[in-house]
């Protein structure tokens, strides 16, 4: 089978220009339909507010929308609920309690988080939870549809690999498709 036949055999109408978008709407296997009203599994409503405020300072709206606008807070809720063990969850919970308090009383919230980030990367044990939140926020944003297709250059079917092409300071990286992370 050639590429056209492969695509046709998958029930797709092959029109090169619309190929990626047709494909993405076609995929039956992994339609992650998000409920309209999301009920958190891990965070309380108050914690969710703190998380939304925090991740939007980590990844604010720029040329592309912000972390919470792509639903990263819901992703964090799911990951922390399903992928962290009880000890890790406890560290996050304690951290958010501290974060909520200090963020509320901070005059300059952005400066507070910048300092917290620096502390977290200087192996300060009391702020490692922030590192975890930041790392999963990065994953949540950059693997979202916005992060993959707008904050990155998403080429679903590159057609053929080329070893060398020119790049400049405006060249976007490719949307990451090989989703194995080492956090």
């Amino acid at each position: 089978m050639n590429r056209r036949q492969v695509i046709q055999s998958l029930g797709l109408i092959s029109s090169h220009a619309v190929f990626p978008s047709v494909l993405s709407s076609f995929l039956a296997s992994c339609q992650a339909k998000e409920p309209k009203d999301y009920t958190p599994e891990f965070f309380t409503d108050d914690e969710m507010k703190t998380i939304i405020a925090t991740i939007d300072v980590i990844i604010p709206e720029t040329n592309t929308i912000s972390a919470s606008q792509v639903g990263t807070h819901k992703f964090l809720d799911q990951v922390f609920s399903k992928c962290l063990n009880t000890d890790q969850q406890h560290v996050i919970k304690e951290g958010i309690a501290q974060l909520s308090k200090e963020l509320a009383s901070a005059d300059d919230k952005q400066k507070y988080l910048i300092d917290l980030d620096k502390k977290a990367y200087s192996n300060d044990a009391s702020s490692t939870y922030f590192k975890t939140i930041k790392q999963y926020t990065i994953v949540g944003f950059f693997t979202s549809q916005e992060g993959t297709t707008k904050a990155s250059n998403y080429v679903k079917i590159p057609e053929a690999y080329k070893g060398e092409i020119p790049a400049d300071e405006n060249t976007l990286n490719y949307g990451r498709t090989n989703l194995h992370y080492y956090i």
Binding site: R3, P60, F75, C83, S144, A167, E169
Partner: protein
């Protein structure tokens, strides 16, 4: 390909010319070679059916359509206690990996046994690197006295390497390196600018070393009905183009096309059926994992291709009064001399230059540094040697995990490629040791009532000495190439390279080996074992190409003998 189940129990309708046990990378080749030679072949596979394209549910899934973005929940991981350690384990690939909860084994010492029990086996997940062995490798056991002599040499296998390369399609460059013989190649993948830089620097610094493009069974042009690579590097999800070679995309459909193939998934081998009057196998007894029925199938010849440890396990659980220590084990060598490449050692480094050069798409191939130690003379305090697989890319947003920064500017910086990253990983040969072994448990059984495997392996003194050099050599090469942020790593658990070899080794002498030079049992003439279990040593090249070449060669021998004598 339409698998069908035969429920009839009559001897006649359950009789074939040949039975192949296993449908992975060697079972597929055996099925193809035997059916194309005109034999009626039954392939029994313990796992489910995986049909090319149709059964690749995540092949085209976008990142955002994985609810946990390809991570798995702790709840789900409980079923994959070992498999979750695999570097490519994720929501996208777990369908091609066995559930440990359903397939237990005993780790007498830590051993990661990665398994893909489905039609196609691990050929759906392999790294696809294809390197020929040379006489440096075939003569090593004889020369230094570790292990038994290989009963064949490069000239015996050379035409079969050629045969397999032409069939599966291997992209690569003819580099003219004596201990890594050139093969029959499709055009190589292109190197990126940083790889070319590294090649130049390494050649300048070390006369005896070279950095070449990986030779991989991924098509760079359409070949034998399969499509060329489209640059996604998502082979492990199943490729709709069939560009990476797998049994599912290649040998099984081709075998099916002959009209001589019967493929029977959900068939767990209970035992081989031995006839002490003729001293031959009558066939195989399977358990249908769906109906729980026990069914016998008969054939003139049996090819055992159930994976390195799977094949040995089947021989052990088929023991008889004549062979109380495992079928075809008069030598006592069965289960012993288990090897795996010792890898997960090397270093990563970064390079800030070549900023105006990038690559396009994702390449399912690394660059490779062939073995350069102990080649023309013994020049090290250890025996044998190692080679490198080097993965090169530009940093992406994951670099944000490890650096301070938040906010708009930082976010924008993560949308751009960062520095070049070089990840050099060495793969070392392991000496064959009697004490590295598998046995079957006398007490523990799986849900089919079959004894579970006990694996007892550790790396030895030679490997430890070699690893010191592997580590140092890597750091030296990265320094010589002016890389920054060099970080060594070292973390080897036996089994993790998924190059497990040995436990039913070939050899000249029936007293010390299980198989002869045709991969035929010394004890039982109509039994052939042609997967990784046959290996008398573990040369540092990725081994699958050699298994496939040995399989095709053994099939040719068996077919000729059958046609000439009507029996084996």
């Amino acid at each position: 390909m339409n698998p069908f189940t035969i429920s009839g129990k009559g001897t006649e309708q359950n009789t074939y010319d040949a039975i192949v046990i296993g449908s992975g990378i060697t079972g597929g080749i055996a099925a193809k070679e035997l059916t194309q030679a005109g034999l009626k072949v039954l392939v029994v596979e313990r796992g489910r059916m995986v049909e090319h394209v149709k059964d690749y549910p995540t092949a085209l899934t976008d990142p955002w359509d994985f609810p946990l973005r390809n991570m798995t929940s702790l709840e789900e991981q409980k079923d994959y206690e070992v498999q979750k350690n695999l570097y490519l384990f994720g929501e996208d690939s777990k369908g091609f990996l066995v559930k440990d909860s359903e397939s237990p084994y005993v780790q007498t010492k830590p051993f990661n046994w990665f398994r893909g029990n489905q039609v196609g086996g691990k050929s759906l997940l392999w790294s696809k690197h294809c390197y020929r062995l040379s006489d440096l490798d075939f003569e090593a056991n004889l020369k230094d006295g570790h292990g038994v002599d290989w009963p064949l040499r490069y000239k015996d296998l050379e035409p079969w390497y050629e045969h397999i390369e032409k069939y599966i399609g291997v992209s690569g460059n003819r580099d003219g390196i004596a201990n890594l013989p050139d093969g029959n190649y499709l055009p190589p993948f292109e190197m990126n600018s940083f790889e070319k830089y590294l090649r130049k620097r390494i050649r300048e610094a070390y006369a005896e070393r070279d950095l070449i493009i990986g030779r991989v069974a991924v098509l760079t042009q359409d070949h034998n009905g399969r499509q060329r690579c489209h640059g996604r590097n998502l082979c492990h999800r199943g490729c709709i183009f069939g560009a990476p070679y797998s049994s599912n995309a290649g040998a099984l459909p081709d075998a099916n096309r002959t009209g001589n193939l019967t493929l029977r998934p959900y068939s767990i081998v209970e035992s081989l059926i031995y006839d002490n009057k003729t001293n031959k196998l009558k066939g195989v007894r399977i358990i249908d994992s769906e109906t729980k029925e026990s069914i016998e199938y008969y054939a003139k010849v049996v090819f055992l291709n159930a994976s390195t440890l799977g094949s040995t396990q089947i021989l052990m659980q088929s023991k008889t009064d004549e062979f109380p220590n495992g079928l075809a084990n008069s030598s006592g060598a069965l289960g012993h001399y288990l090897m795996d490449h010792h890898s997960a050692i090397g270093a990563s480094g970064m390079y800030s230059g070549l900023k105006n050069s990038f690559y396009y798409g994702q390449r399912p191939d690394s660059v490779y540094i062939p073995r350069f130690r102990n080649v023309n003379k013994t020049d090290q305090p250890y025996l044998r040697g190692f080679a490198f697989e080097n993965w090169i890319s530009k940093e992406d947003w994951t670099r944000g995990f490890y650096q301070t920064g938040i906010g708009a500017d930082w976010k924008e910086s993560l949308t751009k490629p960062g520095d070049w990253v070089a990840y050099f990983e060495a793969y070392g040969e392991t000496l064959p040791e009697y004490n590295n072994k598998v046995t079957i448990s006398e007490t523990k059984k799986d849900k089919w009532g079959l004894p579970v495997l006990e694996i007892d392996m550790q790396f030895g003194e030679n490997e430890k000495k070699m690893r010191i050099d592997m580590q140092q050599t890597t750091v030296d090469m990265l320094k010589a190439s002016d890389l920054h942020s060099i970080q060594p790593f070292d973390n080897a658990v036996p089994g993790s390279t998924i190059h497990e070899m040995g436990t039913a080794r070939m050899g000249h002498d029936p007293k010390t080996s299980v198989l002869n030079k045709w991969n035929q049992s010394h004890d039982i003439s109509n039994l052939f074992v042609t997967d990784g279990s046959c290996m008398p040593s573990s040369p540092c090249q990725n081994p699958s190409l050699t298994y496939m070449a040995l399989t095709a060669r053994a099939c040719d021998y068996a077919v000729k003998a059958l046609k000439k004598n009507g029996t084996l």
